[in-house]
Subunit: 371 residues, 2 copies
Amino acid sequence: MSAPFPIRPRLLLGPGPSPVHDRILQALARPTVGHLDPQFLAVMDDVNAKLRHVFGTSNSLTFPVSGTGSASQEAALANILEPGDTAIIGVNGVFGGRLAEMARRMGAKVVDVEEEWGRILDPERLIQAHREYPAARLLAVVHAETSTGVRQPLEDIGSYLAGTDTLFLVDTVTSLGGIPVEVDPNHIDVCYSGTQKCLGVPPGLAPITFSPRALERIRSRKRPCQSWYLDASLLSDYVGEGSERKYHHTAPINMMYALHEGLVMVEEEGLEARFARHAEVGKRLQDELQERGFTLFAEEGHRLPQLTSAALPGGADEAPLRKVLLDRYDIEVGGGLGPAKGKIWRIGLMGAGATNESVDRLLAAVDALSD
Amino acid sequence: MSAPFPIRPRLLLGPGPSPVHDRILQALARPTVGHLDPQFLAVMDDVNAKLRHVFGTSNSLTFPVSGTGSASQEAALANILEPGDTAIIGVNGVFGGRLAEMARRMGAKVVDVEEEWGRILDPERLIQAHREYPAARLLAVVHAETSTGVRQPLEDIGSYLAGTDTLFLVDTVTSLGGIPVEVDPNHIDVCYSGTQKCLGVPPGLAPITFSPRALERIRSRKRPCQSWYLDASLLSDYVGEGSERKYHHTAPINMMYALHEGLVMVEEEGLEARFARHAEVGKRLQDELQERGFTLFAEEGHRLPQLTSAALPGGADEAPLRKVLLDRYDIEVGGGLGPAKGKIWRIGLMGAGATNESVDRLLAAVDALSD
């Protein structure tokens, strides 16, 4: 295969990556400079400031991890946990399960609080689990479960944990920039995300933020973080927290340009307007799918607008139709995972994809398929 | 800071990133598609095939890690080591030291074989260390020490280890695509690199390859890899080794386009021609610097052409002059690290930067500074 290899553009309505605006693609192509060039450090500082705004936090230690969403997920856990620590983890989908798996590999004692896929974790059950394991180092939930389309309530858990010594860790990979995350009001101690969902930037960086008490925990560790690459205590000097900008690793320069541009676009639109846009088109899609006989997978009252999971009318096999959607209409949607495999579509309306035009194009294709 | 933020292009003659050709920047800006889109999988498969060629290997499990060079370094160690394993590590610069630090964090017993910075590790000393610790799980060296400019001979160590149960792990972050690496002829079991050095691609991916016996070791682990994100046994299904392409994490799509384009350019030039180009301009720079009173830091006979470390004439303080080079001439070179801090420049002639024009521009600026 020689350059330029063929790439047919797709309308990205899967669980991510989401459609990338041309301004962001153009930012990617700006000239590469060094990772210690004052020009680049200024871009990174500005990215970090803009991330604080989107996260809803004043946390000083806020930056993009040099990897994709699962890298910041691993960074969140690895910086807090030491072998033997107890971690209470809510598991009602793939990403909660991944948190538990990662924590186990780190040598933590994991207390899984499980719930049926498609339902929220009852905050009272998580609080009860904490009463049984009050010395737990952290309690973790997924805010927007990409595998099910469920939106987890955070407020009650955060308020409760704020009065304990247990840190609150929240996965916002699919929520950041699409629905309010509000790290500080929700008393979240460690919060991480990805760029390729509601921020509308290609995959390759993964924002993370640590509260002052998370930072205190990191500083009082007995053993260093198992991962040198993801060690926040080393990274803090490079990302601008120390007195000197010390080299740690080579950051993905051009991806940082793209993230900057994505965050500029978030500011231009305004967070409230952006949340309203995601809410409106998501609601419309869910209504229209139900009218067409689709069955929504996530429980009512806790559905994410940006990620809709739905079983096809009449229990139709989803995979062949999804393939037609991609091959004939250049529209990507996702299939189900785990117990929902083969049963549902996962439809993302995220970032630049959260428009009525996306909904129109998808529904027109769906209607044509049913004819 | 609003878009587009100002970026002055620089001539990147530091230890990386190296200058990025416009074709590669344009590849970055191609439309983002999904990580399971057959179009993307075809690009990834082709990247993996092209990487085998550059690595000089027929290893089936060859792919880019979703992070920068230090991520593949961590992946190399984390996939092989379990707590309690012995790791023999050659340390004659920052990157050997980083290998040792990472291995310690993984719970390995590290046998450091140290050497003065600027000198190679005598293969006989490493072989001797192995005779003392014959049950060592791995022996690791850095092929191109970016902190010193030293080129480590590999052949004798590789041939020796091939007759033992110890795996040979080699850091080729700064050598891949600039000088011959030859994974198979050198009996290397785990070899990793980065994109932003002699491949001339922005930072954000990190090629790695595992030999069949490394893979066997991975499959016979007692405990899973400490890192879920970097676990080669999970990644192998996604990168094309398994019977089915299974989702693992979202790969950095646009960076993969860029790496593909970079590897196409390597093929167009031809590996031998590329090595000759790096060798010629590196030699010329080193000769010209010596004529100007610079003292080369790496020992004679073992100097990397692509990374020259040199103390300034008359023991001049390097940092202020390096700043002038950047601010007035838009040329980036690197400073010294560790014991060489404040004493040397590290000058990269890598990838698209390995040209006589780069040398001309740098020497003209150096001459102007000395006037």
